[in-house]
Amino acid sequence: MTTGSDEGSTKRPPPITASRGRHAPDADQAPSRLTPKGEALSVLLPDVLTKYEVEIGADIDEVVCHAPASHIDAIAGILKSDERTSFKYLRLLCVVDYEEQEAAFDVVYHLYSLEHQHKMVLKGRVPASDPKLPTVTTVWRGADWYEREMHDLFGVEFLGHPDLRTLILPDGFEGYPGRKSYPLHDYDEF
Protein backbone atom coordinates (compact mmCIF):
# COMPACT_ATOMS: atom_id res chain seq x y z
CA MET A 1 0.00 0.00 0.00
CA THR A 2 1.69 3.11 -1.19
CA THR A 3 0.55 6.59 -0.44
CA GLY A 4 1.00 9.22 -3.05
CA SER A 5 4.14 11.21 -2.52
CA ASP A 6 2.73 14.53 -3.70
CA GLU A 7 -0.08 14.52 -1.23
CA GLY A 8 2.31 13.59 1.54
CA SER A 9 4.88 16.24 0.80
CA THR A 10 2.41 19.09 0.87
CA LYS A 11 1.29 18.24 4.41
CA ARG A 12 4.55 18.45 6.21
CA PRO A 13 6.26 21.56 7.61
CA PRO A 14 9.57 22.24 5.89
CA PRO A 15 12.74 21.68 7.93
CA ILE A 16 12.31 18.62 10.08
CA THR A 17 9.91 16.49 8.23
CA ALA A 18 9.41 13.08 6.98
CA SER A 19 10.52 13.08 3.43
CA ARG A 20 10.11 10.45 0.82
CA GLY A 21 12.18 12.47 -1.55
CA ARG A 22 13.58 10.62 -4.47
CA HIS A 23 11.95 7.36 -3.52
CA ALA A 24 8.72 8.15 -5.20
CA PRO A 25 7.64 5.10 -7.14
CA ASP A 26 8.48 5.20 -10.80
CA ALA A 27 8.53 2.74 -13.63
CA ASP A 28 11.95 1.44 -12.71
CA GLN A 29 10.98 0.78 -9.12
CA ALA A 30 10.56 -2.75 -7.84
CA PRO A 31 6.85 -3.42 -7.29
CA SER A 32 5.37 -3.39 -3.83
CA ARG A 33 4.19 -6.75 -2.52
CA LEU A 34 3.09 -6.25 1.03
CA THR A 35 1.83 -9.26 2.92
CA PRO A 36 -1.60 -9.05 4.58
CA LYS A 37 0.22 -8.49 7.85
CA GLY A 38 2.10 -5.59 6.34
CA GLU A 39 -1.12 -4.11 4.98
CA ALA A 40 -2.70 -4.32 8.40
CA LEU A 41 0.29 -2.68 9.99
CA SER A 42 0.36 0.20 7.54
CA VAL A 43 -3.28 0.85 8.39
CA LEU A 44 -2.58 0.60 12.07
CA LEU A 45 0.48 2.83 12.23
CA PRO A 46 -1.26 6.21 11.73
CA ASP A 47 -3.56 5.34 14.62
CA VAL A 48 -0.66 4.58 16.88
CA LEU A 49 1.34 7.65 15.93
CA THR A 50 -1.48 10.18 16.01
CA LYS A 51 0.58 12.90 17.62
CA TYR A 52 3.18 13.01 14.88
CA GLU A 53 3.01 13.67 11.22
CA VAL A 54 4.33 10.53 9.75
CA GLU A 55 4.10 9.22 6.27
CA ILE A 56 3.43 5.56 5.77
CA GLY A 57 4.61 3.92 2.63
CA ALA A 58 5.84 0.61 1.43
CA ASP A 59 8.96 -0.62 -0.23
CA ILE A 60 8.86 -4.13 -1.67
CA ASP A 61 7.57 -5.99 1.38
CA GLU A 62 8.46 -3.57 4.12
CA VAL A 63 6.19 -1.02 5.71
CA VAL A 64 8.13 2.22 5.67
CA CYS A 65 7.34 5.01 8.07
CA HIS A 66 8.91 8.38 7.40
CA ALA A 67 9.01 10.35 10.60
CA PRO A 68 10.36 13.74 11.59
CA ALA A 69 13.89 13.16 12.79
CA SER A 70 13.68 15.56 15.70
CA HIS A 71 11.05 13.41 17.38
CA ILE A 72 12.43 10.06 16.39
CA ASP A 73 13.08 8.99 19.97
CA ALA A 74 9.53 9.72 21.05
CA ILE A 75 8.11 7.93 18.02
CA ALA A 76 10.37 4.98 18.62
CA GLY A 77 9.27 4.94 22.25
CA ILE A 78 5.61 4.80 21.24
CA LEU A 79 6.26 2.09 18.68
CA LYS A 80 7.98 0.04 21.34
CA SER A 81 5.60 0.56 24.22
CA ASP A 82 2.26 0.52 22.39
CA GLU A 83 0.53 -2.82 22.80
CA ARG A 84 -0.64 -2.92 19.20
CA THR A 85 2.83 -2.57 17.72
CA SER A 86 5.32 -3.46 20.50
CA PHE A 87 8.41 -3.23 18.38
CA LYS A 88 10.79 -4.44 21.04
CA TYR A 89 13.50 -5.62 18.74
CA LEU A 90 15.76 -3.19 16.92
CA ARG A 91 17.22 -5.20 14.10
CA LEU A 92 19.33 -2.61 12.41
CA LEU A 93 20.14 1.05 12.56
CA CYS A 94 21.96 2.64 9.71
CA VAL A 95 22.51 5.82 7.79
CA VAL A 96 22.06 6.20 4.06
CA ASP A 97 23.87 9.06 2.45
CA TYR A 98 21.84 11.27 0.09
CA GLU A 99 24.15 14.22 0.49
CA GLU A 100 24.87 14.76 -3.18
CA GLN A 101 21.31 14.53 -4.41
CA GLU A 102 19.32 16.01 -1.57
CA ALA A 103 21.82 17.28 0.97
CA ALA A 104 20.43 14.94 3.59
CA PHE A 105 21.06 11.69 5.42
CA ASP A 106 18.41 9.10 6.02
CA VAL A 107 18.66 7.38 9.39
CA VAL A 108 16.97 4.03 9.00
CA TYR A 109 15.66 1.85 11.81
CA HIS A 110 14.58 -1.71 11.10
CA LEU A 111 12.16 -2.87 13.75
CA TYR A 112 10.58 -6.17 14.56
CA SER A 113 7.90 -7.26 16.96
CA LEU A 114 8.16 -10.77 18.28
CA GLU A 115 4.63 -10.79 19.64
CA HIS A 116 2.86 -9.73 16.45
CA GLN A 117 5.58 -10.74 14.00
CA HIS A 118 5.35 -7.29 12.49
CA LYS A 119 8.27 -5.68 10.82
CA MET A 120 8.72 -2.15 9.70
CA VAL A 121 11.23 0.43 8.65
CA LEU A 122 11.35 3.75 10.44
CA LYS A 123 13.12 6.53 8.65
CA GLY A 124 14.22 9.93 9.78
CA ARG A 125 15.85 12.50 7.55
CA VAL A 126 18.52 14.88 8.79
CA PRO A 127 20.10 17.69 6.76
CA ALA A 128 23.68 16.98 5.71
CA SER A 129 24.83 20.38 6.88
CA ASP A 130 23.76 19.74 10.47
CA PRO A 131 23.18 16.00 10.93
CA LYS A 132 21.71 15.80 14.40
CA LEU A 133 18.89 13.77 15.84
CA PRO A 134 17.97 12.37 19.22
CA THR A 135 19.35 9.03 20.25
CA VAL A 136 17.18 5.95 20.56
CA THR A 137 19.45 4.25 23.08
CA THR A 138 16.86 5.28 25.63
CA VAL A 139 14.36 3.08 23.81
CA TRP A 140 16.53 0.18 22.69
CA ARG A 141 19.86 -0.25 24.37
CA GLY A 142 20.99 -2.18 21.34
CA ALA A 143 21.19 1.07 19.41
CA ASP A 144 24.31 1.95 21.36
CA TRP A 145 27.08 0.71 19.10
CA TYR A 146 25.12 1.28 15.90
CA GLU A 147 24.87 4.94 16.72
CA ARG A 148 28.52 5.14 17.64
CA GLU A 149 29.47 3.46 14.38
CA MET A 150 27.26 5.77 12.36
CA HIS A 151 28.72 8.73 14.19
CA ASP A 152 32.16 7.50 13.20
CA LEU A 153 31.42 6.82 9.60
CA PHE A 154 28.86 9.50 8.72
CA GLY A 155 29.30 12.16 11.34
CA VAL A 156 25.66 11.97 12.34
CA GLU A 157 25.35 13.19 15.89
CA PHE A 158 22.95 11.36 18.16
CA LEU A 159 21.92 13.82 20.82
CA GLY A 160 21.76 12.36 24.28
CA HIS A 161 23.80 9.28 23.51
CA PRO A 162 25.58 8.37 26.75
CA ASP A 163 28.96 7.61 25.25
CA LEU A 164 29.52 8.80 21.71
CA ARG A 165 33.25 8.00 21.43
CA THR A 166 34.82 6.57 18.32
CA LEU A 167 34.06 2.91 17.98
CA ILE A 168 35.66 1.43 14.93
CA LEU A 169 37.88 4.20 13.61
CA PRO A 170 41.25 4.98 15.16
CA ASP A 171 41.25 7.76 17.71
CA GLY A 172 41.75 11.13 16.10
CA PHE A 173 40.67 10.04 12.64
CA GLU A 174 39.61 12.97 10.53
CA GLY A 175 36.69 12.88 8.14
CA TYR A 176 33.74 10.58 7.73
CA PRO A 177 34.76 7.64 5.55
CA GLY A 178 31.24 6.24 5.21
CA ARG A 179 30.02 9.23 3.26
CA LYS A 180 29.87 9.17 -0.48
CA SER A 181 31.93 12.34 -0.56
CA TYR A 182 34.88 10.72 1.19
CA PRO A 183 37.67 10.16 -1.35
CA LEU A 184 38.03 6.46 -1.99
CA HIS A 185 41.60 6.15 -3.24
CA ASP A 186 43.34 8.63 -1.05
CA TYR A 187 45.28 6.70 1.52
CA ASP A 188 46.63 7.98 4.77
CA GLU A 189 49.03 6.31 7.11
CA PHE A 190 48.31 6.16 10.78
Partner: protein, 378 residues
Protein backbone atom coordinates in the same frame (compact mmCIF):
# COMPACT_ATOMS: atom_id res chain seq x y z
CA UNK B 1 38.64 11.04 33.42
CA UNK B 2 40.74 8.98 31.13
CA UNK B 3 39.99 8.76 27.47
CA UNK B 4 38.26 5.45 27.94
CA UNK B 5 35.90 6.97 30.45
CA UNK B 6 36.58 4.21 32.92
CA UNK B 7 37.40 6.31 35.93
CA UNK B 8 33.95 7.84 35.94
CA UNK B 9 32.48 4.43 36.54
CA UNK B 10 35.02 3.18 39.03
CA UNK B 11 32.74 3.41 42.00
CA UNK B 12 29.94 1.48 40.48
CA UNK B 13 26.90 0.77 42.61
CA UNK B 14 28.93 -0.29 45.60
CA UNK B 15 30.74 -2.94 43.66
CA UNK B 16 34.02 -1.67 44.97
CA UNK B 17 36.98 0.31 43.78
CA UNK B 18 39.00 -0.65 40.79
CA UNK B 19 42.59 -1.10 41.85
CA UNK B 20 43.92 -2.28 38.53
CA UNK B 21 43.24 -1.49 34.91
CA UNK B 22 44.15 -4.36 32.69
CA UNK B 23 44.23 -4.35 28.95
CA UNK B 24 43.03 -7.60 27.46
CA UNK B 25 43.80 -7.86 23.80
CA UNK B 26 44.14 -7.16 20.92
CA UNK B 27 46.94 -9.69 21.21
CA UNK B 28 45.49 -11.96 23.80
CA UNK B 29 44.99 -15.67 23.14
CA UNK B 30 41.41 -15.70 24.37
CA UNK B 31 39.88 -12.72 22.61
CA UNK B 32 39.18 -14.62 19.39
CA UNK B 33 40.97 -12.27 17.09
CA UNK B 34 41.72 -8.63 17.56
CA UNK B 35 39.18 -7.65 20.15
CA UNK B 36 40.34 -5.53 23.04
CA UNK B 37 38.72 -4.87 26.38
CA UNK B 38 39.91 -2.68 29.18
CA UNK B 39 39.03 -4.35 32.44
CA UNK B 40 38.86 -2.37 35.64
CA UNK B 41 39.55 -4.87 38.38
CA UNK B 42 39.00 -5.05 42.07
CA UNK B 43 41.64 -7.74 42.65
CA UNK B 44 40.20 -10.52 40.49
CA UNK B 45 36.71 -9.07 40.22
CA UNK B 46 35.68 -7.09 37.17
CA UNK B 47 34.28 -3.70 38.12
CA UNK B 48 34.02 -2.15 34.71
CA UNK B 49 34.66 -3.01 31.10
CA UNK B 50 35.35 -0.91 28.06
CA UNK B 51 35.31 -2.92 24.86
CA UNK B 52 37.28 -1.65 21.88
CA UNK B 53 36.70 -2.89 18.38
CA UNK B 54 37.78 -1.76 14.96
CA UNK B 55 41.18 -3.37 14.64
CA UNK B 56 39.92 -5.35 11.66
CA UNK B 57 37.89 -2.56 10.10
CA UNK B 58 38.27 -2.79 6.33
CA UNK B 59 35.51 -0.45 5.36
CA UNK B 60 33.64 -3.30 3.71
CA UNK B 61 30.40 -1.41 3.51
CA UNK B 62 32.09 1.40 1.62
CA UNK B 63 33.75 -1.14 -0.65
CA UNK B 64 30.40 -2.72 -1.47
CA UNK B 65 29.22 0.53 -3.00
CA UNK B 66 31.95 0.40 -5.59
CA UNK B 67 31.81 -3.23 -6.66
CA UNK B 68 29.35 -5.10 -8.82
CA UNK B 69 27.22 -7.68 -7.06
CA UNK B 70 29.21 -10.71 -8.12
CA UNK B 71 32.30 -9.11 -6.65
CA UNK B 72 30.51 -8.33 -3.40
CA UNK B 73 29.95 -12.04 -2.86
CA UNK B 74 33.67 -12.47 -2.35
CA UNK B 75 33.65 -9.66 0.19
CA UNK B 76 30.77 -11.29 2.04
CA UNK B 77 32.84 -14.45 2.35
CA UNK B 78 35.24 -12.47 4.46
CA UNK B 79 32.75 -11.00 6.90
CA UNK B 80 32.07 -13.94 9.15
CA UNK B 81 34.92 -16.10 8.02
CA UNK B 82 33.74 -19.16 9.93
CA UNK B 83 30.38 -19.41 8.17
CA UNK B 84 30.97 -18.14 4.66
CA UNK B 85 28.07 -19.84 2.89
CA UNK B 86 25.55 -18.31 5.26
CA UNK B 87 26.87 -14.84 4.50
CA UNK B 88 26.74 -15.40 0.77
CA UNK B 89 23.17 -16.59 1.10
CA UNK B 90 22.20 -13.35 2.85
CA UNK B 91 23.52 -11.24 -0.01
CA UNK B 92 22.17 -13.23 -2.93
CA UNK B 93 18.76 -13.44 -1.27
CA UNK B 94 18.66 -9.67 -0.94
CA UNK B 95 19.45 -9.13 -4.60
CA UNK B 96 17.04 -11.85 -5.68
CA UNK B 97 14.27 -10.35 -3.62
CA UNK B 98 14.85 -6.97 -5.14
CA UNK B 99 14.84 -8.45 -8.64
CA UNK B 100 11.87 -10.67 -7.78
CA UNK B 101 13.78 -13.65 -9.04
CA UNK B 102 12.67 -17.25 -8.89
CA UNK B 103 15.58 -19.50 -7.90
CA UNK B 104 15.50 -23.12 -9.12
CA UNK B 105 14.58 -25.60 -6.44
CA UNK B 106 17.74 -27.62 -6.76
CA UNK B 107 19.87 -24.54 -6.18
CA UNK B 108 17.87 -23.72 -3.06
CA UNK B 109 18.34 -27.22 -1.67
CA UNK B 110 22.05 -27.18 -2.34
CA UNK B 111 22.26 -23.79 -0.68
CA UNK B 112 20.44 -25.06 2.39
CA UNK B 113 22.63 -28.16 2.62
CA UNK B 114 25.80 -26.13 2.35
CA UNK B 115 24.58 -23.51 4.82
CA UNK B 116 23.57 -26.09 7.37
CA UNK B 117 26.88 -27.92 6.98
CA UNK B 118 28.54 -24.57 7.50
CA UNK B 119 26.47 -24.08 10.62
CA UNK B 120 27.70 -27.40 11.98
CA UNK B 121 31.27 -26.47 11.12
CA UNK B 122 30.86 -23.14 12.87
CA UNK B 123 29.34 -24.72 15.96
CA UNK B 124 32.14 -27.25 16.08
CA UNK B 125 34.64 -24.41 16.09
CA UNK B 126 32.64 -22.72 18.80
CA UNK B 127 32.58 -25.78 21.04
CA UNK B 128 36.28 -26.34 20.54
CA UNK B 129 37.39 -22.80 21.22
CA UNK B 130 34.96 -22.44 24.09
CA UNK B 131 36.58 -25.40 25.78
CA UNK B 132 39.99 -24.03 24.92
CA UNK B 133 39.13 -20.78 26.67
CA UNK B 134 38.58 -22.83 29.78
CA UNK B 135 41.84 -24.68 29.40
CA UNK B 136 40.55 -27.92 27.94
CA UNK B 137 42.80 -28.60 25.00
CA UNK B 138 41.42 -31.78 23.58
CA UNK B 139 37.87 -30.98 22.38
CA UNK B 140 39.15 -28.30 20.03
CA UNK B 141 41.36 -30.79 18.23
CA UNK B 142 38.62 -33.36 17.98
CA UNK B 143 36.22 -30.79 16.61
CA UNK B 144 38.68 -29.33 14.17
CA UNK B 145 39.17 -32.83 12.82
CA UNK B 146 35.43 -33.07 12.13
CA UNK B 147 35.30 -29.57 10.73
CA UNK B 148 38.11 -30.45 8.38
CA UNK B 149 35.94 -33.18 6.88
CA UNK B 150 33.21 -30.62 6.21
CA UNK B 151 35.72 -28.24 4.68
CA UNK B 152 37.03 -31.03 2.45
CA UNK B 153 33.52 -31.48 1.12
CA UNK B 154 33.21 -27.73 0.61
CA UNK B 155 36.45 -27.80 -1.31
CA UNK B 156 35.20 -30.59 -3.53
CA UNK B 157 32.02 -28.63 -4.14
CA UNK B 158 33.16 -25.06 -4.52
CA UNK B 159 36.90 -25.28 -4.97
CA UNK B 160 37.80 -23.51 -1.76
CA UNK B 161 37.89 -24.54 1.86
CA UNK B 162 36.64 -21.28 3.23
CA UNK B 163 36.32 -18.38 0.79
CA UNK B 164 33.93 -20.20 -1.50
CA UNK B 165 32.40 -17.53 -3.75
CA UNK B 166 29.90 -20.20 -4.77
CA UNK B 167 26.44 -18.69 -4.53
CA UNK B 168 25.27 -16.53 -7.39
CA UNK B 169 22.38 -14.19 -7.86
CA UNK B 170 19.70 -16.57 -9.09
CA UNK B 171 21.36 -19.82 -8.15
CA UNK B 172 24.76 -21.29 -7.58
CA UNK B 173 27.94 -21.28 -9.57
CA UNK B 174 27.71 -24.87 -10.77
CA UNK B 175 25.97 -28.09 -9.92
CA UNK B 176 27.49 -30.17 -7.16
CA UNK B 177 29.74 -33.13 -7.82
CA UNK B 178 28.04 -36.38 -8.76
CA UNK B 179 28.69 -38.21 -5.51
CA UNK B 180 27.71 -35.23 -3.38
CA UNK B 181 24.62 -36.84 -1.76
CA UNK B 182 26.58 -39.98 -0.94
CA UNK B 183 29.46 -38.01 0.51
CA UNK B 184 27.14 -35.84 2.56
CA UNK B 185 25.36 -38.89 3.94
CA UNK B 186 28.64 -40.46 5.02
CA UNK B 187 29.80 -37.17 6.44
CA UNK B 188 26.59 -36.75 8.46
CA UNK B 189 27.16 -40.09 10.14
CA UNK B 190 30.66 -39.05 11.12
CA UNK B 191 29.48 -35.65 12.29
CA UNK B 192 26.79 -37.17 14.47
CA UNK B 193 29.44 -39.27 16.15
CA UNK B 194 31.71 -36.25 16.45
CA UNK B 195 29.03 -34.06 18.03
CA UNK B 196 28.09 -36.83 20.44
CA UNK B 197 31.74 -37.13 21.37
CA UNK B 198 32.08 -33.43 22.08
CA UNK B 199 28.83 -33.55 24.04
CA UNK B 200 30.04 -36.44 26.15
CA UNK B 201 33.42 -34.89 26.72
CA UNK B 202 32.18 -31.53 27.91
CA UNK B 203 28.51 -30.93 28.58
CA UNK B 204 28.12 -32.60 31.94
CA UNK B 205 31.71 -32.54 33.12
CA UNK B 206 32.04 -31.30 36.69
CA UNK B 207 34.62 -28.62 36.01
CA UNK B 208 32.91 -27.51 32.82
CA UNK B 209 29.56 -27.12 34.56
CA UNK B 210 31.16 -25.26 37.45
CA UNK B 211 32.77 -22.84 35.04
CA UNK B 212 29.72 -22.17 32.87
CA UNK B 213 26.57 -22.55 34.98
CA UNK B 214 25.24 -19.25 36.25
CA UNK B 215 27.99 -17.30 34.51
CA UNK B 216 27.12 -14.34 32.31
CA UNK B 217 23.39 -14.53 32.90
CA UNK B 218 21.23 -12.28 30.76
CA UNK B 219 17.50 -11.98 31.07
CA UNK B 220 15.24 -12.52 28.06
CA UNK B 221 13.85 -8.98 28.02
CA UNK B 222 17.27 -7.42 28.44
CA UNK B 223 18.68 -9.65 25.72
CA UNK B 224 15.93 -8.50 23.39
CA UNK B 225 16.58 -4.90 24.33
CA UNK B 226 20.23 -5.30 23.42
CA UNK B 227 19.23 -6.83 20.10
CA UNK B 228 20.95 -10.14 20.74
CA UNK B 229 20.08 -12.94 18.39
CA UNK B 230 20.82 -16.54 17.61
CA UNK B 231 21.65 -19.03 20.30
CA UNK B 232 22.63 -16.19 22.60
CA UNK B 233 19.08 -14.87 22.57
CA UNK B 234 17.43 -18.28 22.66
CA UNK B 235 19.48 -19.28 25.69
CA UNK B 236 17.62 -16.54 27.55
CA UNK B 237 14.31 -18.15 26.73
CA UNK B 238 13.22 -16.05 23.76
CA UNK B 239 12.05 -18.31 20.95
CA UNK B 240 13.22 -16.42 17.89
CA UNK B 241 14.70 -18.14 14.89
CA UNK B 242 14.58 -16.47 11.50
CA UNK B 243 14.34 -19.82 9.76
CA UNK B 244 10.93 -20.25 11.39
CA UNK B 245 9.68 -16.70 11.89
CA UNK B 246 10.33 -15.53 8.36
CA UNK B 247 11.20 -18.62 6.39
CA UNK B 248 13.62 -17.92 3.60
CA UNK B 249 14.93 -20.17 0.88
CA UNK B 250 13.17 -23.54 1.35
CA UNK B 251 13.30 -23.73 5.12
CA UNK B 252 9.52 -23.95 5.36
CA UNK B 253 9.70 -27.43 3.83
CA UNK B 254 11.68 -29.01 6.63
CA UNK B 255 10.64 -30.23 10.01
CA UNK B 256 13.20 -29.33 12.60
CA UNK B 257 13.38 -28.19 16.19
CA UNK B 258 14.83 -25.06 17.67
CA UNK B 259 16.24 -25.55 21.16
CA UNK B 260 15.41 -22.79 23.61
CA UNK B 261 17.09 -22.47 26.98
CA UNK B 262 15.86 -20.87 30.15
CA UNK B 263 18.81 -19.90 32.30
CA UNK B 264 20.50 -17.52 29.87
CA UNK B 265 23.96 -18.44 31.10
CA UNK B 266 27.07 -19.70 29.37
CA UNK B 267 26.11 -23.35 29.77
CA UNK B 268 22.79 -22.82 28.01
CA UNK B 269 24.45 -20.87 25.24
CA UNK B 270 26.90 -23.72 24.78
CA UNK B 271 24.39 -26.52 25.00
CA UNK B 272 21.96 -24.93 22.55
CA UNK B 273 24.66 -24.97 19.94
CA UNK B 274 25.27 -28.67 20.48
CA UNK B 275 21.57 -29.34 19.98
CA UNK B 276 21.38 -26.98 17.02
CA UNK B 277 24.15 -28.84 15.28
CA UNK B 278 22.10 -32.03 15.65
CA UNK B 279 19.00 -30.32 14.26
CA UNK B 280 21.06 -29.14 11.29
CA UNK B 281 21.89 -32.75 10.53
CA UNK B 282 18.16 -33.49 10.43
CA UNK B 283 17.58 -30.60 8.03
CA UNK B 284 20.31 -31.80 5.71
CA UNK B 285 18.90 -35.33 5.69
CA UNK B 286 15.48 -34.01 4.68
CA UNK B 287 16.98 -31.74 2.06
CA UNK B 288 18.89 -34.63 0.53
CA UNK B 289 15.68 -36.60 0.28
CA UNK B 290 13.67 -33.79 -1.28
CA UNK B 291 16.36 -32.67 -3.70
CA UNK B 292 15.72 -33.48 -7.34
CA UNK B 293 17.80 -33.03 -10.46
CA UNK B 294 17.27 -29.86 -12.38
CA UNK B 295 18.84 -26.54 -13.27
CA UNK B 296 20.82 -24.70 -10.61
CA UNK B 297 20.81 -21.22 -12.07
CA UNK B 298 17.97 -18.96 -13.08
CA UNK B 299 18.24 -16.86 -16.21
CA UNK B 300 19.89 -13.65 -15.09
CA UNK B 301 22.15 -11.15 -16.77
CA UNK B 302 25.80 -11.84 -16.17
CA UNK B 303 26.01 -8.55 -14.33
CA UNK B 304 22.97 -8.27 -12.10
CA UNK B 305 21.19 -4.95 -12.18
CA UNK B 306 18.39 -4.95 -9.62
CA UNK B 307 15.70 -2.29 -9.94
CA UNK B 308 15.44 0.74 -7.74
CA UNK B 309 14.25 -0.01 -4.26
CA UNK B 310 15.20 -1.13 -0.79
CA UNK B 311 15.11 -4.53 0.79
CA UNK B 312 16.01 -5.89 4.14
CA UNK B 313 16.68 -9.60 4.09
CA UNK B 314 17.86 -11.63 6.94
CA UNK B 315 18.96 -15.16 7.59
CA UNK B 316 19.74 -17.26 10.62
CA UNK B 317 23.51 -17.46 10.70
CA UNK B 318 25.32 -19.67 13.19
CA UNK B 319 25.96 -16.54 15.22
CA UNK B 320 22.48 -15.12 14.96
CA UNK B 321 20.26 -12.94 12.84
CA UNK B 322 22.35 -11.86 9.85
CA UNK B 323 20.66 -9.01 8.04
CA UNK B 324 21.39 -7.36 4.71
CA UNK B 325 19.90 -3.94 4.00
CA UNK B 326 20.25 -3.19 0.32
CA UNK B 327 19.44 0.16 -1.23
CA UNK B 328 19.58 0.02 -4.98
CA UNK B 329 19.39 2.88 -7.43
CA UNK B 330 19.07 0.52 -10.33
CA UNK B 331 22.81 0.41 -10.96
CA UNK B 332 25.23 -2.47 -11.16
CA UNK B 333 26.49 -1.82 -7.68
CA UNK B 334 24.40 -1.05 -4.63
CA UNK B 335 23.80 2.49 -3.49
CA UNK B 336 24.10 1.39 0.09
CA UNK B 337 24.61 -2.07 1.47
CA UNK B 338 24.52 -2.37 5.21
CA UNK B 339 25.06 -5.60 7.03
CA UNK B 340 23.51 -6.46 10.34
CA UNK B 341 26.35 -8.42 11.89
CA UNK B 342 25.04 -10.72 14.62
CA UNK B 343 28.39 -10.82 16.41
CA UNK B 344 28.42 -7.04 16.61
CA UNK B 345 25.05 -6.99 18.36
CA UNK B 346 25.89 -9.87 20.64
CA UNK B 347 29.12 -8.19 21.63
CA UNK B 348 27.28 -5.02 22.63
CA UNK B 349 25.89 -6.69 25.72
CA UNK B 350 29.35 -7.67 26.92
CA UNK B 351 29.63 -4.96 29.55
CA UNK B 352 26.37 -6.02 31.16
CA UNK B 353 27.47 -9.63 31.19
CA UNK B 354 30.95 -9.15 32.55
CA UNK B 355 30.57 -6.79 35.48
CA UNK B 356 30.71 -8.62 38.77
CA UNK B 357 32.46 -11.68 37.42
CA UNK B 358 36.05 -12.84 37.70
CA UNK B 359 38.74 -12.35 35.08
CA UNK B 360 38.62 -16.03 34.31
CA UNK B 361 34.92 -15.69 33.53
CA UNK B 362 35.54 -12.87 31.10
CA UNK B 363 37.09 -15.24 28.59
CA UNK B 364 34.32 -17.78 29.12
CA UNK B 365 31.58 -15.20 28.61
CA UNK B 366 33.29 -13.71 25.59
CA UNK B 367 33.71 -17.19 24.20
CA UNK B 368 30.06 -18.03 24.80
CA UNK B 369 28.98 -15.05 22.68
CA UNK B 370 30.83 -16.68 19.79
CA UNK B 371 32.05 -13.55 18.06
CA UNK B 372 33.95 -13.34 14.81
CA UNK B 373 35.89 -10.14 14.55
CA UNK B 374 35.78 -10.09 10.76
CA UNK B 375 32.10 -9.50 11.11
CA UNK B 376 32.16 -7.20 14.11
CA UNK B 377 34.52 -4.76 12.48
CA UNK B 378 33.68 -5.34 8.81
Amino acid sequence: MTESGITTNVIDKGRGMADMLINMGPQHPATHGVFRMELALDSEMIVDVTPHIGYLHRGSEKLFENEIYSQIITLFDRLDYISNFNNELGLVMAVEKLMDLEVPDRAEYIRVILCELNRIASHLVFIGTFALDMGALTPSLYNFRDREKILALFEATSGARMMHNFFRVGGIKQDVIADFPARVTTLLGELEAGIDEADKMLSLGEVFVERTRGIGVIDGDVALDWGLSGATLRASGVPYDVRIEEPYSVYDRFDFGVPVGSAGDCWDRYYLRVLEARESIKIIRQALQQMEPGPVQAKVRAIARPPKGEVYVHAENPRGDFGVYLVSEGAESPYRLKVRPPSFCNLMALRDLLIGHYIADSVVILGSLDIVLGEVDR
